[in-house]
């Protein structure tokens, strides 16, 4: 379980997080939406152990992760693939840092290549992959880090709308096979609703929690779910919450 307690942080004079608290049950999928630059990424960085907040705490299974990286699988907005490593080398990097023997890490990666649509591209350089493939490879790298908690920062933000919809269906399948605890940051309300069990709306900077909404739509949610009546109602109430969060 992830618990964020009264997190407050400022960069110099700019206050980005204002007393943010939230909880994610093990195996849950929480979508975090909010206006651009509201501090969503900052929150992820705290959970990834990269940033020490001014006050407050973040724990995973009761242990604080503040200032102690290496306990979550973090996927930043940019794919950040290493240009000098082939597909397989990029996929296994987390395992390599964690000290997993290379053979083992590679065979594990190979079994997942098909699932991630990268079969036949084991030896390709990142420069030879398409945008969607790069993003899937970045996700594969995140999955292979060997942590239960995935922190995804706008993982599909750079993709076109059609590819993004495909990725939504695909990610649901992947998670159905291999359940993880996910915190997804996005500014796409539909994306958050399609993927999440719970959506949390943050306000403009400094971010505070405006609304928490559970999404009780049946899984797997296919792309046409977005036109269903309950979905549209959920979306309306999310947009309303976003509006009230803007000052």
């Amino acid at each position: 379980m992830i618990a964020v307690e009264r997190l407050t942080h400022r960069y110099g004079a700019v206050e980005v997080l204002d007393n943010v608290s939230l909880e994610i049950p093990a195996g849950g999928f929480v979508g975090l939406v909010g206006p651009s630059g509201c501090g969503k990424s900052t929150l992820l960085k705290v959970l990834a152990g990269l940033l020490v907040p001014d006050s407050g705490d973040a724990t995973i299974d009761g242990r604080s992760v503040v200032g102690s990286p290496g306990r979550t699988a973090y996927m930043p907005q940019r794919d950040l693939l290493l240009a000098w490593r082939r597909t397989l080398g990029n996929a296994t990097i987390g395992a390599e840092i964690a000290g997993t023997p290379r053979r083992q890490a590679e065979s594990q990666a190979r079994t997942l290549l098909g699932r991630f649509g990268l079969e036949g591209f084991e030896r390709a350089w990142p420069a030879e992959l398409s945008g969607g493939m790069r993003q899937r490879l970045a996700l594969l790298r995140t999955f292979l880090c060997g942590h239960d908690v995935l922190l995804l920062d706008e993982p599909f933000g750079a993709l076109d709308a059609i590819t993004r919809r495909d990725m939504h269906e695909w990610l649901q399948q992947v998670l159905a096979d291999d359940p993880r605890t996910v915190l997804l940051v996005t500014h796409d309300v539909e994306e958050a609703l399609v993927l999440s069990d719970t959506v949390i709306v943050l306000s403009d900077r400094p971010a505070r929690v405006v609304k928490q909404l559970s999404v009780e739509l049946q899984r797997p949610r296919e792309s046409d779910v977005v036109t269903s009546k309950p979905f549209v109602e959920l979306k309306a109430s999310l947009l309303e919450a976003l509006r009230t969060g803007r000052t």
């Binding site: 960085k45 990834a48 152990g49 990269l50 990286p69 290496g70 306990r71 979550t72 973090y74 930043p76 940019r78 950040l80 290493l82 240009a83 000098w84 490593r85 990097i93 987390g94 390599e96 840092i97 964690a98 390709a124 350089w125 990142p126 420069a127 030879e128 880090c145």
Partner: protein
């Protein structure tokens, strides 16, 4: 992926044809104008001279080549060390960067005699000349490479629990490698000429010595042989470094090749 041999020939043919054409114009105009051979010999005479001196050249080439290679090696090591220090220590950067740039304004021809004075007539002063030439492009280029490392990639590695050594090995070194080779390529293009400058001042063997001797005896045709050999050696050295760069940093070509395919 590969565009095959046809593509390669297509790339090499135009410059080769241009060189052939220039040599032909040279040959014909020297003959037509009746220019004396001690002023400007025709290419054919240079080929003949090459035949005469060929048995002598081997030793000179070995000497100059050794000096150039040793110089590049020393220069590259010092260049990388300087680059790392400049990159890691801001104070060191402020102290030495102007000095590093200023050092490049001293002409090697002026420095070479001093180096002979300090290091004698052996291999050392030549290696020093080449190393001094090589340090600058390698250091500057490597500093740029290190400065261009993606900070977010380092953060990503840190989030995985990577330590300093992991980050150095996985991100910093490979990320700066192409820039290092860009500097080394430039250094390699000047290395043979640098060794020759060193030999010009005083040597017992080497292409520089061959050139000064030929000049002293007004054998302009042999001077041209020397020039041609220096050119070929320089191009060869450049080619070797280029090849090395491709072997060590093969990803560099990945993106480009794909674009060529389209």
């Amino acid at each position: 992926m590969r565009l095959g041999r046809g593509f390669r020939v297509g790339r090499w043919l135009p410059p080769a044809a241009l060189i052939a054409l220039l040599l032909l114009v040279w040959e014909l105009s020297v003959r037509a104008l009746g220019t004396p051979a001690y002023i400007l010999p025709p290419p054919s005479a240079i080929v003949v001279a090459f035949g005469e001196v060929r048995p002598l050249l081997g030793q000179h080439i070995v000497t100059t080549g050794t000096e150039a290679l040793a110089g590049i090696l020393v220069g590259a090591v010092i260049g990388v060390a300087l680059a790392v220090a400049v990159w890691a220590l801001p104070l060191f950067r402020r102290l030495t960067y102007p000095l590093l740039v200023a050092s490049q304004t001293v002409p090697m021809v002026v420095l070479a005699p001093l180096l002979v004075l300090w290091f004698g007539f052996g291999l050392t002063p030549k290696v020093v000349v080449v190393a001094l030439i090589a340090v600058f492009p390698v250091a500057i280029s490597t500093v740029q490479g290190l400065a261009a490392v993606d900070g977010e990639q380092i953060d990503l590695l840190r989030s995985m629990g990577a330590g300093r050594r992991d980050i150095l090995r996985v991100v910093l070194v490979p990320s700066a490698t192409p820039a290092f080779f860009a500097g080394l390529r430039i250094a390699s293009a000047y290395a043979i000429a640098g060794a020759v400058i060193g030999e010009w001042v005083g040597a017992s063997s080497g292409l520089g010595l061959f050139l000064t001797r030929s000049q002293a005896s007004f054998r302009v045709d042999r001077v041209f042989v020397g020039v041609a050999v220096i050119t070929v050696l320089s191009v060869a050295l450049f080619g070797v470094v280029d090849l090395l760069a491709r072997v060590v940093a093969p990803w560099q070509r990945a993106g480009r090749e794909q674009e060529e395919d389209v």
